[in-house]
Amino acid sequence: MRCAVVVFPGSNCDRDAFHVLKNVFGLDCHYVFHEDTFPPNEFDLIVLPGGFSFGDYLRAGAIARFSPVMESVREAANRGKFVLGICNGFQILTESKLLPGALLRNKNLKFVCKDVHIKVVNNATPFTCLLERGQVLRMPIAHGEGRYFVSKDELKEDQIVFQYCDERGNVTEDSNPNGSFLNIAGMTNERGNVLGLMPHPERCCEEILGNTDGRKIFESLITHFVRRQEHEAN
C-alpha cells in the first residue's frame, strides 16, 4: 500500500503519521508538499495530518483547502482511494466539501488536550472493518476547533463513524469534549473511502506510548486494501 502524507505550512503531525505508516506498519510512505500535485492512482492512502495549516487563519482548513495538492486529493478520493484526515486534516476535508458539515470553536472556547473515549458506530467502512460496532477506543485529542456541526438535512446517520463516549461506551454530554453535534468525533463520506476524525490514531500505535488503540484503524485499512486486491485478482 503506497501512502502519502501531505505537508501544509503549519502541519505538525505529519512526521508522526509518516513514522507510524513507515516504521510501525512498514508501508511505502512519501511526503507530498501542499504546492505539488500527483496523479490520481499514485497513492492508495493519503493522510491529511494534524496541525495548524496556514495558521488556522480565517477558519481552520479554509485556506489549505485551496492548495494545489487538494485537487489531486479530490481526484484520488473520486477514484476510491483512501483519504484519512486527522484533526486539522478533518477540518480541511469539511472545508473542501469532501465531508459534510463544519468544525467550529470548542463549546468551552478552550484548547482541549487529553485522552477521550470514542465508540465505533459504523464498522462497515474500510477504516473500521476490524472493529466491532459499539467497541470503545481510547485516543488523544488536541484541538481548539473540534465542535462538529452539520444541519439535519445534510446528515446521513450511517456517515457517523465515531462518537465521543464514556469508558463504558455511553454517549453522554459529559463525555463530549467540545460540544459536537450528536457527540460526533469522526465522519465518512457516502462512499466510505474518506474518513475525518478529531482524535489522533497516529499518536497511539505503539506500546511505548502506553496505548495502541490507534493501530486498529490502520490495520483495518491495510486488511481492507489486501482483501480488495485479492478480490480484484480473482
Binding site: A62, A102, L109, R147, F149, E154
Partner: protein
Amino acid sequence: MRKMYRVRVQILPKEGVFDPQGQTVKGALEKLGFEKVKEVRLGKLIEIVLDAEDESQVKERTKAMCEKLLANPIIETYQLLDVEEVS
C-alpha cells in the same frame, strides 16, 4: 478608468449555530449591569481594498470572494456593509 475602493464585509455565525463567544460576552455584559441584553453574536469584519471599474463590480467581486473563501455557508452568513471610493 479603474478606481480604488474599500469594501467592508461582515461575517456572523448563522442562526441556529451555537456561538459560545457571543454567549460569554453576553454573560459579561449582564454582570456589568446591562441586563437587558437579549443576544450577542460575535463574528468578523473584513476590510478589502481593490481596484475595479465601478461600485457594482466591487460588489460582484466581493460577493464571489465571500462565496468562495471568506464565509462558510454551512455555519456563517455574510453581508456587504459598505463600499467607499478611496484615493
